[in-house]
Amino acid sequence: MENRIGVFVCHCGINIATTVDVKAVVAAIKDYPGVVHAEDYIYMCSDPGQGMIQERIRKKSLNGVVVASCSPTLHEVTFRNTVARVGINPYRCEIANIREHCSWVHSDRAEATVKAIKIVKTVIEKVKLNEELTPIAIPITKRALVIGGGIAGIQAALDTANAGYEVILVEKQPSIGGHMIQLSETFPTLDCSQCILTPKMVEVGHHPQIRLYTYSEVEEVSGYVGNFKVRIRKKKRWVDFDKCIGCGICMEKCPVEVPSEFEEGLAKRKAIYIPFPQAVPAKPVIDAAHCLWFQTGKCRICEKLCPTGAIDYEQQEEIIEEEVGAIVVATGYDLYGMENIGEYGGGRYQDVINGLQFERLLSASGPTQGVVRRPSDGKVPKRVAFISCVGSRDPELHKPYCSKVCCMYLTKHAMLYKHRVPDGEAIVFYIDIRSDGKGYEEFVQRAQEEDHVTYIRGKVSKIYENNGELVIMAADTLSGKPLEVSCDLVVLGMAIVPSPGVEELIRKLKIQVDTNGFLTEAHPKLRPVETLTPGIFLAGCGQAPRDIPDTVAQASGAASKALEMFGQEQLHHDPAVATVNEDICSGCGLCVPLCPYEAREIEVIKGKRIAVVNEVLCEGCGSCVAACPSGAAQQRNLQDSQLFRMSEAVTIK
């Protein structure tokens, strides 16, 4: 086949054109062997740009296309679809990245232009030997796994289930609900969290399409998009859920009391417990680390009292295997520990508490029935300080990022405190007020105007306890005056951090986290709910700190990505994967442990050891190709022969 290649050079507005002389690139390339057309345009990805490419393909009978533009991760798919619509095999279209690899990283226009020309020439050489390929078809299991039962996981599960597909929801705690169910009321509308979330929890519990595994963890994930195999470990709960009727007599009579996780340590629970009365499922588990029977070999009171014989001290762990096509990771957040902030007492002071603890003090179902009482002596505090950016926006010592929700929830805290204690004083220490959601700024204004919450702009420097009072050392940067304020209670807006255990989970899922431990999306703007691993999607604070509305929207987005897959009969995988020349392969097996996708294995074919490729698992990374000592491993459309010609194009004159 004679190569008739068209080269289309994009200005990307000023992104490329400022640093690279695009006209010079066109001039240098138009007579290059194999090129029959070269042209530039300001936005090649726009409708007129794509139309221009299609028009030139038809008119000049092009059979290969090079688009010199941005990174292929951004628009390779765009342009391959463009050429496919006019009958060219999409794998005969390649991107020459002259933006990220050239204009954005250089400042010398003449040198950048020379480099851009070289990049384009290499890609032309690649296209010359590109084969016409057909995507690999993959069957889909139309069932989703959702990891995490907070509001993000609940929403993703319900959306997927309501579209008619089965969902497996795994939650490591004994109940779903996540941190949201701990909240008292939610900004900016002050809906009670219980009122808006418990109906959704009940719906999950009863949904015919949702299989709920609480007190369970994902043990192992294998397979690939559309065809994941998941092993789920149901932890020992020592209560037979089939027999338990949830009467609660066991919890009533259990003699052991331990700090309640749900109440953030502000109240006690029993060793056999339901985290909170509205839990789903409303059946207890035994906390063996504190149970008298497991610790001392005495007691068994719950067993004696249980009317249905549901207590089972011999219960074993259960491993469940499920097959799913898509996975939504909704692992949520935790609060940065107060022990990290030595200058605020490092967690030593009982009346310096975090935001979730204050939520429990405000909650009608909390340890104080919604009366704000401080933990040390139960006194109703007359002056409360709320401190924002504790551990956030502190690249030197703690976390560099903004935790996004603290400004708003501390405003809510101050407002609700004033509603409960009208003669009390609420002071918010802030450094910037970030109220950029719908109705948020109005909410802050209301706290200031109607509830007379005092806002002081200054980061608190130190908190110490003095005879039952907490003294705050700060400065009011707006009046330029130092301050020492005595308070009865201090609420710290601690930084939001990823849930513990995420590091372990991402290794099982083969997805990534960023330097702060948050799950990494495929593209920060255009693919925010996908990971780079096909079929695995993200929702909620596991990806970045966010509020409830954003979490719910993102969870629906993740669900719709799963549903987009489930709406197809089969999936398609990039065919530019590794191949093996069986005549050359010596079966040395070097490639097998190197493959990060477990796509390589040794098979014995007609008595000969051959390293074969699972084309569906192969992501075309090239590790095996580079490692293969005999050259038997090759990658489609990135053959050694192509690589040689690509390098010759820019090294040999």
Partner: protein, 288 residues
């Protein structure tokens, strides 16, 4: 155990009781301080300007003295000396260009390589003797004391020179616990005493002292312990200036922690230099 010891000017003058009590207490722990044969002023305040090498020479010369006597470590008592020597040493190790220049300038001295380890007595007691070992040698129960431990600045800051967590230190409390001596959770333990401002801004320092002593008193302390001769002076001697202005102010003795350590280890009061303390604490310490 014998260890090279750098005293500094103040321990030979106004803070002789610090040196005497440290030597006596360490003797019980079988540690002998071997004073450097030659030494000079440490420089007192570590020079913070990036181009100021001149004022870093004095501390480095002392470290050269340590090497001359084949020492690899040097022990300090005074917090200021500790901090100045420590920071100068860190600078010398990290800035190769500056250290070459300084070595060239001191061409009559042997070249220094930044290889001396600067220790403060508190870190030494914690890390090399061990508080559990000290606990075994306690002879006297000092039941009447409620100590407000006072770290000041220079043991804890800047972070690279710190002997403990700058915000939540515990070395003093842990030491006193091993001696069976009660302490209070003193919130001002790592605040600045006003330092050298005491020379020309007496009121500023006196006000600081008033605040600190009052707080220590209000949370139940009856004595304050430090390891810095300047803190000791400001917090004790400046109480006279406080009393001049606030007649109802209740004074409190401020001692070197080594005086309490010595007493607990059985050293006689005559060897702990209490006569140099403005408010003689020996009755309080010895419980008579």
């Amino acid at each position: 155990m014998r260890i090279p010891y750098y005293p500094g000017c103040t321990l030979k003058t106004t803070a002789k009781n610090f040196e005497d009590s440290a030597i006596a207490a360490l003797k019980v722990l079988n540690v002998e301080l071997v004073e450097l044969k030659r030494w000079n002023c440490c420089g007192t305040v570590y020079s913070l300007a990036s181009d100021d090498l001149m004022h870093k020479l004095a501390p480095v010369r002392n470290l050269i003295r340590v090497r001359e006597e084949d020492g690899s470590k040097v022990l300090t008592l005074c917090s200021m000396c500790y901090n100045t020597l420590k920071q100068a040493n860190l600078f010398f190790r990290e800035d190769k260009e500056a250290s070459e220049k300084m070595n060239e300038f001191m061409y009559r001295e042997r070249d220094y390589e930044g290889d001396v380890e600067v220790l403060h007595i508190l870190g030494f007691l914690r890390d090399e003797i061990g508080f559990d070992q000290i606990a075994k040698k306690v002879k006297r129960k000092l039941a009447g004391l409620k100590v407000a431990p006072y770290y000041g600045c220079l043991l804890l800051r800047p972070g690279e020179a710190a002997i403990d967590d700058p915000e939540n230190p515990s070395v003093f409390e842990d030491l006193f616990e091993s001696l069976g001596v009660q302490t209070v959770d003193f919130p001002y333990r790592n605040e600045c005493c006003g330092a050298y401002q005491t020379v020309d801004q007496v009121d500023l320092v006196a006000e600081r002292t008033r605040k600190m002593i009052n707080l220590a008193r209000s949370i139940g302390a009856n004595i304050l312990a430090t390891s810095c001769p300047l803190c000791q002076f400001n917090l004790e001697t400046r109480q006279k200036d406080v009393k001049g202005k606030w007649t109802d102010f209740e004074e409190m003795p401020v001692v070197y922690f080594t005086q309490i350590l010595g007493a607990a280890l059985g050293v006689g009061r005559e060897d702990l230099g209490f006569e140099l303390n403005l408010f003689n604490p020996s009755e309080l310490i010895y419980g008579e």
